[in-house]
């Protein structure tokens, strides 16, 4: 815990606490709901934002209480926290497929899909790691427990902490690292070297998790309101912008030289249209509701093998489903610009044209795989 990464967290936390202090006076009259955030957790920032947005949505007054799990917590401590200090405990990892929580406690729906990712400069997937390469895991983490039980063509290096593991990756002492995704996000905030890494879903058992809030049955009524609201708020994912110095303002993880197919203004106009005509089925965050996700693997995954023209054909001929073809050509083109932006294409000086979009053979694949990790949650 000696890296700069460790020191970064309290600062981020402080900002959050200041906000909660501002909120607090208004809440003084009736006792606010105490929502605990683990300050040692790399997802603390996201947890706080999720809590505040859920509270605002539900019209609940909350007080954010920090606690520190740095020395480890067992089920008893979580129960104790839930009993004494916290109405809700944010940031508890529940595994996809099991959703197990400490006995006696309940959990809300998952508000952020995450898990373990494989980081490397080359963007390797686990099954493509070259023979003899070195893969870092941290001691007793699920990737360690799953991988160390078997032999592989690559070599496993076990680190005592994830920050040491990431330092080793930064120094080139290992070729790839399996880490908790929020740890990677937090690390990337402080270390420019991480901008050169690519993250891929770690295709292993016990690698897919979600963050949920824990609560004790005694606060079920309040928790239900909070949980309901959590389902409706948008929780920010640190997007695929490893280059924080990128000046375009677009969420681009693409290498320079990618085609610039649309203008920023078209994409902005497309974003507004999307809210009005598309978000109902595809989600305001493009992660899909009844309609498919429009971001990441679904559209831009390498296995999808789709071109801009393929998607524009569907968009302009079939959408919106209840009234296909009901928008103008310019509107469809703006929507396509927005989809391109959201899938990592940079804006340029020349606007996208309808006929050009229909005929475009530019492949959509290649947007950073970071978005893929998120693409199939709910």
């Amino acid at each position: 815990m000696s890296s700069g990464f460790r020191e970064a967290l309290p600062r981020a936390l402080l900002a959050g606490l200041l906000v909660s202090v501002v909120i607090a006076p208004a809440a003084r009259s009736a006792s606010p709901v105490s929502v605990c955030v683990d300050r040692s957790s790399p997802s603390a920032h996201i947890d706080r934002i999720a809590a505040r947005r859920a509270a605002a949505h539900a019209g609940l007054r909350i007080r954010i209480v920090r606690f520190d799990s740095d020395h480890g917590l067992g089920a008893g401590q979580f129960r104790k926290l839930a009993k004494r200090r916290c109405d809700l405990i944010m940031g508890f990892p529940v595994e996809a497929g099991s959703m197990a929580v400490p006995a006696g406690l309940e959990h809300t729906a998952v508000y952020l899909d995450t898990g373990f990712v494989l980081l490397s400069r080359k963007g390797w997937h686990l099954d493509a790691l070259p023979r003899g390469s070195q893969l870092g895991v941290s001691y007793q983490s699920p990737p360690d427990q799953v991988l160390s039980a078997r032999t592989h063509r690559f070599r496993i290096r076990i680190f005592n902490t994830e920050s040491r593991e990431l330092a080793a990756l930064a120094a080139g002492r290992i070729d790839a690292a399996a880490v908790w995704q929020p740890t990677y996000w937090a690390y990337r905030q402080r270390h420019r070297v991480a901008a050169h890494w690519k993250a891929n879903r770690l295709g292993l058992p016990h690698a897919s998790w979600g963050l949920a809030a824990l609560y004790s049955p005694r606060v079920r009524t309040v928790a239900a309101r909070f949980a309901d609201a959590l389902e409706h708020v948008k929780v920010p994912r640190p997007g695929p912008q490893p280059g924080t110095d990128a000046s375009s303002g677009a969420t681009t993880g693409r290498a320079p030289g990618q085609p610039r197919l649309y203008t920023a203004g078209q994409a902005r106009a497309g974003a507004r249209l999307f809210v009005a005509d598309c978000a109902r089925c595809h989600g305001a965050d493009l992660q899909g509701i009844s309609g498919p996700p429009l971001k990441g693997a679904t559209l831009a995954g390498p296995d999808a093998d789709l071109t801009v023209g393929d998607i524009f054909g569907i968009l302009s001929q079939r959408m919106p489903m209840g009234a296909p073809g009901s928008l103008s050509r310019a509107e469809y083109t703006r929507l396509m610009a927005f989809l391109l932006r959201e899938n990592g294409f940079p804006p340029g000086g020349t606007p996208l044209r309808y006929t050009q979009a229909l005929a475009s053979k530019v492949p959509l694949a290649g947007a950073t795989s970071e978005t893929d990790v998120a693409s199939d949650g709910h």
Partner: protein
Amino acid sequence: MTAIRTTPRRAVSLVVAFALGLLMPGTSALATGSAAYRPVTSARLLNAQHDSGWLMYRRSYDSRGYAPFTQITPANVSRLKIAFTYKTGLKQGHEAPPVVNGRYMFITTPLDHVIALDAETGKVLWKYRKKLAPGARRSVCCGVPNRGVALFGDDVYLATLDNHVVALKAVTGKVDWDRKVEAAGTGYTMTLAPLVVDGEVIVGESGGEFGARDFIVALDARTGRQIWKRYTVPAPGQPGGNTWPRGDAYKHGGGPAWLTGSYDPETDTLFWGVGNPAPWLPTDRPGRNLYTDSVLAMNPHTGKIKWFYQYTRHDAWDYDGVNQSVLADIDYHGKKVKALLHADRNGWFYALDRVNGKFLWARPFTYVNTITGIKSDGTPVEDGSRRPAAGKKVFACPSPFGGKNWWPMSVDPKTGMAYLPTVHACADLEGVAVKYKRGLPYYGERPTIRHQPGTSDWGEVQAIDINTGKQVWSRMYRKPWDDGMLSTASGLVFSGSLNGRLYAFDARSGKVLWKSRKLRSGIIGVPSTYEVDGHQYVAVLAGYGGVMSLFGQKLTGATPKHPMPRGGELYVFRLP
């Protein structure tokens, strides 16, 4: 666990490792204290009609959706109260019936979550969430639903959107086996509840809107090993292969088998509905396009086709013939006949002889202008001017929603009636050029939904005499009636409305005897009923979504400012 507590380590790893520890065998606190689980044998499935639970999708192999329970009656149904509820936390369409074995209830949600609950108290026993393959949702036409589980032995079976069949241990929710039957996101998805027959888990693929070449596949319930696989679109040289043009059209011909089949133990025959050909636009696939829009009668041990009947030939309207086959005996010219009853998307109610596939009779149950008659040998008569072509728009009734969509009808052998959820809608269908691209929509037609001539109502609940096909009673509704029907021996019919109320109708008269309060969201989940400890329960999932939310906004009256309420919630009712 002890190692974790005594060794300081990075916080999140600890939390994760702690949660992982709960998964290890023997440490699950969630599964303890539950009642013993009674294995579901083949004998129990054959006798499922008389079980106290609800052991399969439509309760019994005959797919009647009829239960022998009599505690809840027309006289006391108005006293129904909520016994427990459970929020799933998902906003998409919830289409599954609660499946119950003893005290164990299993529900599925959109995106392939399974939740096991205590059927009496609602206590959650375990949850399973399928982590879907990237891109799986590329090829979904009509939302991300799942229509429930199948039970066999100590396992619970789930078919997934990324084309896996997953066997979970019923008591713990742990994965017993997981088998991929097709790649994800390539046009195929699965949304149906599997059917278990004689130790085989049988599932069918969706993909009629994506140019998949669909199939039905049977897996060994103990291991997941494939036993047989039957493409619903034959290849050139196979029987029926000449009903497709030369070339690759058959490879993208659709024929989705996306609803659970029925099984007749007497003749040892598996019945499975097959859906629409792809693309919707018929121009590039001249021929009858077997076995689309058909029912297949198969040997359940080999998948071999004994006979078939095609409801719609060379379909041009998405008359997806997948709706369930209800097995019931009817009076036909003074004789008792083992019949197969079917209400098709094309608006006709059919009776076939289920022993040999012979067509008995058919009657329209809604306004139809496309298939205007059916000859005594079962050959449909068409109005040829109702076929769309590229650049040609036609007014077709019923619309692609069908006179009845997938929501299952129920047949009550005591009243001799079939209870149908009905949609009254037509469509302007405009043909447009289309090309196939793997994983993407493949329609070639654009529907604009219109009112059916003569009515401004979109929905109806109706009872049809299964001996004649004639309507006995009818109740018209403003919104489409898009929910499965449940009938009970006490003379009740339960079904939910898009307004979010569960209804109880008098089975003989159609009179509304009870409506629940407005539930959290519109109901499109199939109701089921079961008994535990002397109480009869009626269970249903509310949670609007699915096909209507995508194509049918106009029919529901929803607007961007006044959307349909969303959110999945299980409601279980009983008498006080």
